[in-house]
């Protein structure tokens, strides 16, 4: 039932004349680049999992404007993120920040590759040894695939 409420709320909000695309661009290219980077890191909470950059939802428009204004006001990227996290929680960042709790997420790729490398080395060594006693033949030339 609650889910129905949320769904209805979402529909209610998105049926606003809310498909407005904001048409302001920052004049300074460095600032524009920062802006584009940031809006691709922020989550649109009215949508599900989309970035604030890629959706016409009203919430996204407001957040984009907020980011734009804060960049123009000279705030740093970290400041802007913190500002939004203070109000919306960590959930608004699509990229978890470095913290003790989140470290494992960022270490996952490296860790997996490390484990993979260890496994690979073990298997390679083992099979290389077996090569000496292995008399089987892989088959004719044509069975490459």
């Amino acid at each position: 039932m609650m889910r129905g409420a949320l769904l209805a709320a979402l529909l209610a909000v998105t049926s606003l004349p809310a498909l407005a695309i904001d048409t302001a661009e920052l004049s300074d290219p460095a600032q524009q680049r920062r802006y584009e980077e940031l809006i691709h890191e922020l989550r649109c909470l009215q949508c599900q999992g989309e970035t604030v950059a890629d959706t016409p939802a009203q919430f996204a428009i407001d957040i984009r404007r907020q980011v734009r204004e804060m960049i123009q006001a000279g705030r740093s990227n970290g400041d802007i993120r913190q500002y939004l996290v203070d109000r919306y929680g960590e959930i608004i960042l699509l990229q978890p920040r470095w913290s003790l709790a989140n470290a494992w997420l960022w270490l996952t790729p490296g860790a997996l590759l490390l484990v993979g490398a260890v496994v690979a080395v073990r298997i390679l060594r083992q099979r290389r040894q077996m090569l000496a006693t292995d008399t089987s033949e892989p088959g004719e030339e044509e069975s490459r695939a």
Partner: protein, 654 residues
């Protein structure tokens, strides 16, 4: 009347599925041949009944039978007929029935095409498929009955979600389902082997074509989904790393690993227990996807609204099926040993790396998808894991993998013997490097790191992949379908890689305000709004803009984006207009009217966008070709095996 028939058909199908499971598993176990034989009529019957049930559902939709709750919630008399048909699978209950129907189709195919395999083994395979079917039918009938009634029947329905009213709905879910239900076959083959207690190279040979076909459909399904979201949502997004999207990517990655691992097991009898595990994992992740989409744990644009009761049912089913198969694995896998060896540089070692990297990639996606749940469990604040995270971390295992695709084609089975291959390998890399840098500096001219790496890798893969087939043709050697398939698939990988890296580093977007007569430039392109008109569709009214796009001053294409208001659900949707060509996509989306005839619009130029999906279709095509080869060889060898084997098994005519 018709919904009742459908309902009874489902109930009967459930009984037959249970029978299929029982006879298929108990028959071979007890050596009772009559039981084993009984599987086949159960399979056929189940298929007919489920076809009937699904047909009844379609009939109810097409004929606007609003006394069926599902039809009332998802359809409308003004809905065009093809959407009424496609709408049957655009919701939880209907798509679940569709799932089971597709499973019965696969089961029928396995039964039909396995006549040269030993009966008891096939019976076990069908038995396992029967267990899965039973589970899903139970789930459907108990918690998600598509034929539930609504009394009194409303005069009309709530209409299909406008986002779904698109050609994509007609093709994306069916392809996807055929694909990921298809992995149940590899799973069933694995379970049958474990139950039987033996697994040899022939097992791998039998399993390969089924797995490749399933993988092919999954590839097509995912690609269609990506393409659909690209033009439907109008913002150019083709992969959002949404948890539901991820849940379908993971089986695909594992399926790719499985195809390659099966090749090694087939050729050299190696990696047996690993291949077994992969087959279990690939399907397990498919079931996991089902869980994620339908249980209510996830909030996603893709997930169906559902209640946790369904989630509990699926979870129990997961525990039984996956837990059961992994238990079998603990029991049987240690017995599988092979004494084959291979060199440090050999096709086997490269395929080993391939598997490791693909599993690592799956792990990265899995970790990211599960992270919010785990953070929750640990009592931390809810976090989000989205595109920025995945775009960075996914590359870590994938880039080496792409290099491997190029390198791997040079390696021979068992012994490295690079020898003259080394020259070709280095030569092809040099060519790719030079050509790639020429393109980057000459055409692209940008300074990002992504594009050069992507372009050089892609070129290297293509050159390396083509060397062998070209060589064979030159030397007038035979070119089996399997080799063409492999080449095509790998070239497809390169094309997709090229498309993604090029597009992401060279795309241009602009948000502008335009009134008729005004124009804006994006890169070399000029977008001029000529007019905006009111048009009417079958169940919507719209404002349609006419945009003339010119390239370097010369008129290129006219685009007609729309802003639609759907009558029944009162939703407003922007229909993007696409200007497509092999070297770039142009995207125009209408936003809001800004007053004084002006409209806000998003203009996008995306170089090489088509390559992203073209490559994926090449991959699927390669898979298809490879399957065609396999099957031919299999029948021939099977025929030879019949001749060789003195006492032919009953019922297996050559």
């Amino acid at each position: 009347m018709v919904p009742e028939i459908g309902q009874y058909a489902m109930i009967l199908a459930l009984l037959l599925a249970a029978a299929q499971a029982f006879f298929g598993l108990a028959g071979p176990w007890r050596g009772a041949e009559r039981w084993t034989q009984a599987v086949y009529p159960a399979v056929a019957g189940q298929f007919v009944l489920l076809a009937l049930a699904f047909g009844c559902l379609i009939w109810s939709f097409v004929n606007n039978d609003f006394s069926v709750l599902l039809v009332a919630k998802n359809s409308n008399s003004a809905l065009p007929i093809y959407y009424r048909v496609a709408g049957t699978w655009g919701n939880h209950e209907g798509s679940l029935l569709f799932w089971v129907f597709v499973l019965s189709l696969w089961t029928l195919a396995v039964a039909a095409f396995s006549t040269s395999l030993p009966r008891p083994f096939v019976a076990r395979v069908l038995g396992v498929l029967g267990v899965i079917s039973t589970g899903f039918l139970l789930f459907s009938l108990k918690t998600s009955n598509p034929f539930e009634r609504l009394q009194p029947a409303p005069p009309d329905g709530l209409d299909l979600n406008p986002l779904l009213q698109d050609f994509g709905l007609t093709v994306h879910p069916p392809m996807l389902y055929v694909g990921y239900v298809g992995f149940s076959v590899a799973f069933a083959f694995a379970c049958a082997a474990m139950l039987e207690g033996k697994l040899d190279q022939t097992w791998a040979r039998w399993t390969r074509p089924w797995t490749t076909v399933a993988w092919m459909f999954l590839t097509v399904g995912i690609t269609l989904g990506s393409y659909w979201s690209y033009y439907e949502l109008g913002w150019g997004g083709y992969w959002a790393w949404d948890p539901v999207e991820n849940s379908i990517l993971m089986p695909w990655l594992l399926g790719t690993a499985l195809i390659h691992s099966l090749a090694v097991t087939d050729k050299r009898g190696l990696f047996k227990s690993w291949t077994l595990l992969l087959a279990i994992m690939a399907f397990s992740f498919c079931l996991l996807a089902t869980f994620m989409v339908r249980s209510g744990v996830l909030n996603s644009v893709h997930s169906f609204a559902s209640d946790p009761k369904r989630g509990v049912f699926i979870l129990v089913f997961l525990v039984l099926v996956i837990g059961g198969s992994l238990g079998l694995y603990v029991w049987r896998a240690p017995l599988l040993r092979s004494s084959a060896g291979f060199d440090l540089v050999s096709r086997e070692s490269f395929l080993l790396f391939n598997n490791i990297l693909l599993v690592a990639a799956t792990g990265v996606v899995f970790g990211g998808t599960m992270a919010p749940f785990i953070a929750d469990l640990a009592g931390h604040e809810t976090i989000s894991v989205g595109a920025p995270y995945y775009n960075r971390t996914f590359l870590v295992p994938m880039l080496p993998l792409f290099a491997l695709v190029a390198l791997g084609t040079f390696a021979r089975w068992k012994r490295g013997q690079l020898g003259e291959s080394r020259r070709r390998m280095l030569g092809s890399f040099a060519v790719a490097l030079v050509l790639g840098l020429a393109i980057i500096l000459g055409i692209y001219g940008d300074r990002s790191l992504l594009a050069p790496i992507g372009v050089v890798l892609a070129l290297w893969i293509i050159i390396a992949a083509l060397l062998d087939p070209v060589d064979r043709l030159r030397r007038r050697l035979s070119l089996p379908a399997a080799v063409i398939g492999m080449t095509l698939a790998h070239v497809g990988v390169a094309i997709t890689l090229l498309g993604i890296t090029t597009m992401e580093s060279r795309r241009m977007d602009r948000d502008v305000s335009l009134a008729p007569g005004q124009q804006a430039t994006v890169g070399d392109y000029t977008f001029r709004l000529e007019s905006v008109q009111d048009v009417d569709g079958p169940n919507y009214s719209a404002a349609r803009a006419r945009v003339l796009v010119s390239h370097n001053g010369k008129p290129d294409v006219v685009l007609l984006p729309e802003r639609r208001e759907y009558d029944v659900q009162q939703q407003s949707l922007a229909e993007a207009a696409l200007g497509v060509s092999w070297h770039r996509d142009l995207l125009v989306t209408m936003g809001d009217p800004l007053g004084k005839d002006a409209w806000s619009m998003r203009l996008q130029v995306r170089p090489l966008m088509r390559f992203v999906w073209l490559g994926a279709f090449f991959m699927a095509g390669g898979g298809l070709l490879a399957t065609l080869d396999r099957r031919y060889r299999r029948r021939r060898e099977a025929g030879q095996a019949q001749v060789a084997a003195a006492g032919a098994l009953p019922g297996t005519a050559p």
